[in-house]
Symmetry: C2
């Protein structure tokens, strides 16, 4: 550890502390109004109050006859009661029909209940002949009637700001008559990968080089997390060029994500560049993989330098850069990953106390439960350990690994 | 039941049987090639073999010195071993350096291991003075070396066709040098809502009318499931107009989804229209909510008529129309919902044996486990029962409800 301090990071910050520092620099983005049809996955910028009752009127929940329940009391298939058909109300109609004792009005599902009626008898519980309706069932008042405001009362807060809009929220908002909605603008994100070893897809593979998979991977994650990728590039390990690129990106990006060049290698120029042109917030995070993460500021832009190894870049994105993107959008759920609680299939020893460990696991069904099986891996460069996994178990710092059968929280990969 | 038969559906089909009939008419869409950067959420049309080893060469997993492990045997902080620095290999370099016994080569993470070296000692486990490297640790051969092909061997099948591409798959594909990829074209979907009671958002609310929330909700779901909405409209309950719209949509849509007008009410024209212009596959499904679902064919298009009540439309989409969209894309996972297994918080009696019941539940953390709490609701029109829920528990036909504490599978809402 003494040696590490000397040559490597002067200090490792915990993930939570790093996020706290980060969030003291995060401001929620301005509001924009979008059509409801374009609002999927956007984040509500305001609390939503209902301006109306849902349903807006007492309505029939069935196809049948609106009646006074009293007229059906005691009715059965053997002893039907008779009432008189006096009219019809279709769905969408505003009817002035009034119902009196001994009368029935044909009514469709969703149509407004006429004045005087208090219940609806299903059509299959009746027969009709010569405008005389036979009721085969006895109903309590209110049966098959959806009362005005039963679902939502006017003035109720129905959605909170910070909600990420999904299909069911869109349904709710449109049922309240919203045509457009106030959402938080998407954070603009620049994505860079640095490294002299990086080839672009389509290039011919030459010795010592590898294809750059980080820019497309991080760009996909930014998209999944709700950000807008405005720039995605690979840059060589050249101090001046990196500096130029960073300054350029800081002009139009709220977040800049670099992968590679952030550790303590001879060509790891990023810390130097950030220090010169901006501010380093944290450098060195107590997590594995992902220790070399650097966070900083360049003018108003948040800068994340993530490790170049794909798995370390992936988990560091989920844990830090992704959370920042959602912070800028004011999401109430900063980490959007679904969580499941399951048993771990075997002992997992941990080397390196003091680090938050991101354990990749595969979820399998075993009898009537799900279990998490740690995915065998050899290093944080092993991309196939991600495609073979379903999610991550976080082992907190100072916890000495996991015991077989222990309940663990699995954070499923973002989908 | 006799009455129901007389007036309602002549026969209720089980969900599984309806899906079977449906899938006998489903053909997987043609292939198209897309840039890897635009492939998020698309479905692989072909199996992917690796054309190369990953890593493509033996490479260093650490910043340090490439050495012969033997030279470090017995080394410790108290008893360091010394070797001679003979060169440097940077990442991205193809080096012709050869290493001999007693020598070390400075090497960066990701750089190729020189001929003659078998391990890498981390820089923090060494000190250097006048080109003499002191090793403070004893290493086994192979330490900190990622072997060629260790992650993926050339010729291995790495991804199967039918995989929905996420960030980690994109990383894997780009690391293999793919610039573009063969995916299945998106199904084109037309979405209609029918009903004289329906207002468009922005219209003034008048008595008897409600805002149409189904077209935006279903469109959002189609998008989440990977389809492309090419038409989204509200139509009046007019037989000829509905017919005209359906025939128009059948010309360019692979799937047509109608909500409303599919039951046995006086203005439920859809069954008649489909019967006249195409083929009804099934009408009446043994599920609650969602019994009125109709599936049919119109030329080559699959037609789904879903109930007009939003919750019934929602669950019927998930269970049937959504599955068909993914079937057309050749997805290996037809139902994309994440599943969790948890305990149910209370007894749930079921009325109506023979129906598949879709129970909406809220997931809450309780001590060290998650539990599913059934959401109280009054009808399938109650949209807020969706926004207050996290997912659905399916109670199979012929199962007499659920017992408190019983393990249930919750299918989380699509995200």
């Amino acid at each position: 550890m003494e040696k590490l301090r000397k040559i490597g990071f002067s200090k490792l910050t915990s993930v939570s502390e790093a996020l706290e520092i980060l969030f003291s620099h995060i401001k929620i983005n301005p509001i924009e109004e979008v059509e409801i049809n374009s609002s999927l996955n956007r984040v509500l910028a305001v609390d939503i109050m209902s301006g109306m009752d849902i349903p807006p009127f007492d309505r029939s929940a069935m196809d049948g006859y609106a009646i006074q329940a009293e007229d059906s009391f005691g009715a059965s298939t053997k002893n039907p009661k008779e009432i008189k058909l006096v009219g019809t109300i279709e769905i969408g109609e505003s009817s002035f029909l009034k119902l009196k004792k001994g009368e029935g009005i044909r009514i469709s599902t969703g149509a407004p209940i006429p004045v005087g009626a208090d219940s609806v008898v299903k059509i299959e519980d009746t027969e009709i002949e010569n405008n005389l309706i036979s009721l085969y069932i006895s109903l309590p008042p209110g049966k098959n009637v959806s009362k005005k405001g039963e679902d939502i009362n006017k003035g109720t807060q129905v959605l909170n700001k910070g909600t990420e809009l999904k299909a069911e929220h869109i349904a709710l908002l449109t049922s309240l008559g919203f045509k457009s909605i106030k959402v938080v603008t998407k954070p603009k994100v620049s994505v860079f990968s640095s490294g002299d070893e990086l080839l672009e897809p389509g290039d011919i593979l030459i010795p010592g080089k590898i294809y750059n998979s980080n820019t497309p991977m991080i760009s996909a994650l930014v998209h999944l997390y709700g950000g807008e990728v405005i720039r995605g590039e690979t840059v060589k390990d050249d101090l001046n060029y990196i500096k130029k690129k960073l300054i350029e990106a800081a002009e139009d990006s709220q977040i800049i994500i670099f992968t590679g060049g952030t550790s303590v290698g001879t060509k790891d120029y990023l810390p130097e560049v950030i220090k010169e042109s901006g501010v380093i917030l944290t450098h060195g995070i107590a997590q594995r993989p992902g220790a070399p993460v650097l966070t900083g500021l360049l003018n108003e832009s948040l800068v994340f330098c993530l490790p170049g190894t794909p798995v370390a870049a992936y988990v560091s994105f989920l844990k830090m850069a992704g959370v920042a993107i959602r912070g800028i959008m004011g999401c109430s759920l900063l980490d959007p990953r679904s969580e499941i609680i399951v048993e771990i299939s075997r002992d997992v020893p941990v080397s390196g106390l003091g680090y938050l460990h991101h354990l990749r696991v595969d979820i399998k069904k075993s009898e009537d439960k799900l279990v998490a099986i740690p995915v065998k891996l050899k290093g944080s460069g092993v991309i196939s350990s991600l495609t073979k996994s379903d999610g991550i178990v976080e082992i907190p710092p100072h916890q000495e690994g996991l015991k077989k059968g222990e309940k663990v929280i699995v954070k499923l990969f973002p989908r």
